[in-house]
């Protein structure tokens, strides 16, 4: 592909990863020349076993891990060389819940919005909106350590949405979450994706979740993409009655 064709393709993708490597401590290869393109506006699933490189890929995209320039592009912006523009477009809900313990739930949201450049008043209004959307209004003044696990998880996801990102990255957002909350979250994400054309990149070990939500899926193993496509395309390639079946076939193959 030529330089301008490359640029066009990157700009058309919410996330474009090109031949990305990551080696920890000179010996553990987490990503091995991985390439991936998440189309803008899609609900995209990234599925793979523990240690396959999902969280490394996300960390390098969002600035939590060191990454080389010219390998990761967010809506065409280099996530390293042009990180300010790229990060403004990303909302991350990490796998582990880490919330600032000196702030209340409302402040966790409003400060986050302000770190991303929102004016104070707008950030506070947005925080109130999200507290309501995630049924946390009654806990607005509570510190994160006073919230239940489910509430903290909701707050973490709300935090990812404060600055109205165009690409939301959810790293196992429903791990350890009860069924009711999981379904609420599915509905909210579906609405966000449909109504605001937000691109969603989801990693999960609940394959029924990926099956219900994701339009396209990438299977990752040992730092490489095994296969990528719609569920129909993957089923045509690997067979299997459902996503779980084809996932197991792909991983064992």
């Amino acid at each position: 592909m030529t330089g301008s064709a490359d640029s066009l393709a990157r700009a058309g993708a919410a996330l474009s990863i090109e031949r990305l490597d990551k080696v920890y401590g000179g010996e553990t290869r987490a990503l091995d020349g991985l390439s991936l393109r998440v189309p803008a506006g899609s609900f995209y699933g990234l599925l793979g076993p523990n240690g396959s490189g999902k969280t490394t890929l996300i960390g390098m995209t969002c600035g939590l891990l060191r990454a080389p320039a010219e390998h990761i592009f967010v809506f065409g912006h280099d996530a390293v060389a042009d990180y300010q523009r790229a990060r403004r477009l990303i909302g991350l809900a990490p796998q582990e819940i880490h919330l600032d313990r000196f702030l209340s739930a409302r402040q966790v949201l409003s400060y986050h919005g302000r770190y991303f450049g929102m004016p104070r008043l707008e950030a506070e209004q947005r925080a109130d909106e999200l507290l309501e959307a995630f049924d946390l209004t009654a806990k607005a003044k509570a510190r994160p350590n006073r919230l239940s696990g489910g509430m903290r998880r909701r707050l973490l996801i709300a935090r990812a949405l404060v600055h109205r990102p165009r690409l939301i990255i959810l790293d196992e957002p429903t791990a350890g979450v009860d069924l009711e909350l999981r379904h609420d979250l599915w509905r909210y994400l579906g609405r966000l994706h449909r109504d605001e054309e937000t691109t969603v990149l989801l990693t999960t070990h609940y394959l029924e979740e990926a099956e219900a939500l994701c339009e396209r899926i990438a299977l990752i193993r040992r730092g490489q993409i095994l296969a990528e496509g719609t569920q129909e395309e993957l089923r045509a390639r690997y067979g299997g009655a459902d996503l779980e079946d084809l996932y197991l076939r792909a991983m064992r193959g």
């Binding site: 990180y83 582990e96 450049g117």
Partner: protein, 265 residues
Amino acid sequence: MIIETLSGRQLRVVARRGAIALAGREVRRVMVLWSQTLVPPVITAALFLAIFGGALGGRLRQADGVSYLAFILPGLLVMTVAAQSFANASTSLFQAKSEGYIEDVLTSPLRHWHVALSYMVGGLLRGWLAAAAVAACALPFTGGLHDGVLAIVPLVLTGVIFSALGVISGVWAETFDQQALVANLIIAPLALIGGVFYSAARLGAPWSTLTRLDPIYYLVDATRAGFTGVHEASLVASLLVAAAVAAGATAAAVVLLGRGWRLKP
């Protein structure tokens, strides 16, 4: 789908708002935790003043032509600013790192130097507020300032140097022990041999040489000049060296944050 691309000017606005928010968060932390951040250093400095200036000062009478209380006050202020600026920046950053919520900052579009300066703001505030409280209590007993600007400039530089070192230490430390190690084994001894309680000129070798090798000595000496008019070293040289160290420490903090040293695997 149309994705808005921010201009350079818009990016600067975004970064500025983010930096103000992070600095505000640091200020808030200092004020919310006032019983841990402000009260203890004020009590410690007041005890030093009471014991060395009041109880023992009566026997020591004068040092370099001024009362012993007036002699030690500037050094105690430097010690207070150094210790508190360092402690605040290093603890805040270390907590954010060890508890994981630094990801809120690392994933944001904030520039590295904005992050460094924002953490330094908390340190500067804590150091200066504690020193201001100590000075307000002691000045009625020591007499007024000899030169207000000269008294304040070294304290400003002290705050910048030690809050920047606090940022570096907070980034470096991976355990509570390491975090305490720098404060207890480097900052506290440097402060104590920096001529806070004595005049280097009156000491014999090797103590006078040791004191003159301590960078804090020059900050104490310059601050003492502002408070009492008495000093031993060249004021211009002391302030220039302090300014250079402040610039160097700040630059090092920014570069280390930018490289993700000990923050990003």
